[in-house]
Symmetry: C2
Subunit: 176 residues, 2 copies
DNA sequence: CACGGAGTTCAGAAATTTCTGAAACTTCTA
DNA sequence: TAGAAGTTTCAGAAATTTCTGAACTCCGTG
């Protein structure tokens, strides 16, 4: 299924298996379930650990390691996004910053820099927003999502809250 | 640079080139600039068109086609997200739905279905939210992003707006 | 209606990514 | 300290993806 989450096919398969499995699995159980090599499982689990997507557990008197996915899907999503940001967005941002440090040579360079400044600004706005929003607990996040189209009306109200500061709002409608 | 946007390296390079280029380019100019084969450029441009990421233009008395990226980065982002959703999220959702139609056989199947229901719910919540938010014009979207951490406080206020309906809010603070 | 420039197609080559088996390593136990 | 059970590593094999050159289509022109 969806193997375009920044991880490869096998890793995805293993994670899907752990996700739907009612109890933690050990490496050999995964080998058997998916028909892939032991070493592949080992490397893939290592990868999942690097992504902090799996939980490790042990049974008393058993040396094997058992793996499972977190219970909370929201938590999984948060981890996934956090890791992707770390691996993809952050490096992109710093490359962009480096380029923007240099002085542009000639007209087309200037244009290119302007464009990259725009791109940088966009990404930075998004990550700033994300860094804020990720602080919210899942409950509130769900409320925010559920708000949906009403968000627009609310925005108008917030224009006032923000611009007028702490003064009382007169109504919930807003302008435009 | 960032070639993990669901498109391949060359396509990314070409798009980056178009993005920073002050004027539309024709296929041969891209060949020359990037040192890749004509056929590769042709196929990559085709791909970019399929993603609706490029604009096509012509010069009078010239049969060649000229390509460029939209001026507005926000618009580029919107298109990118929309297309990825169409290609990745939507198919995932329908596969999930299909699976959830079937009756689970046995205990572990039941568990698996519960898990998939959770996943389905999560994705649906996110896409519903997205479908709403994408209606907003860029101006408002920027405001929403800029709101950042204040969003939390606002959420508490919105609890009231939503639950009390259209009545006037007493202050912008909220509780907690 | 043959020519040439522009664009496209596609089979195989090249590059990249992923997977495997065999050997090495680690711990625990007897 | 030998060995059993589990895990890890890694060089090369296999699979997949991407790229290319050569042939082809599609116009408009002289």
């Amino acid at each position: 299924m969806g193997s375009r989450w920044g991880i490869n096919r096998t890793v995805g398969q293993i994670y899907a298996l752990l996700y739907v499995s009612p109890k933690p699995l050990c490496a050999d159980e995964i080998v058997e379930a998916l028909g892939i090599s032991r070493s592949n499982v080992s490397m893939s689990l290592r990868e999942l650990q690097a992504w902090r997507l799996v939980l490790l557990s042990h049974k008393p008197g058993d040396r094997r390691e058992f793996f499972s996915a977190p219970d909370d899907v929201w938590q999984i999503l948060r981890t996934l996004i956090e890791e992707r940001k770390k691996r993809e967005i952050d490096p992109t941002l710093s490359v962009l910053r480096e380029i923007l440090m240099q002085d542009p040579q000639g007209e087309s360079e200037r244009f290119a820099q302007r464009r990259m400044t725009e791109m940088h600004g966009l990404i930075e706005q998004l990550t700033t927003w994300y860094d804020d929003v990720k602080q919210l607990d899942t409950q509130r996040l769900a409320t925010l999502l559920g708000l949906g189209s009403r968000i627009s009306r609310l925005l108008d109200a917030s224009d006032k809250i923000v611009s007028v500061g702490r003064r009382k709002t007169k109504d919930g409608k807003g302008r435009v």
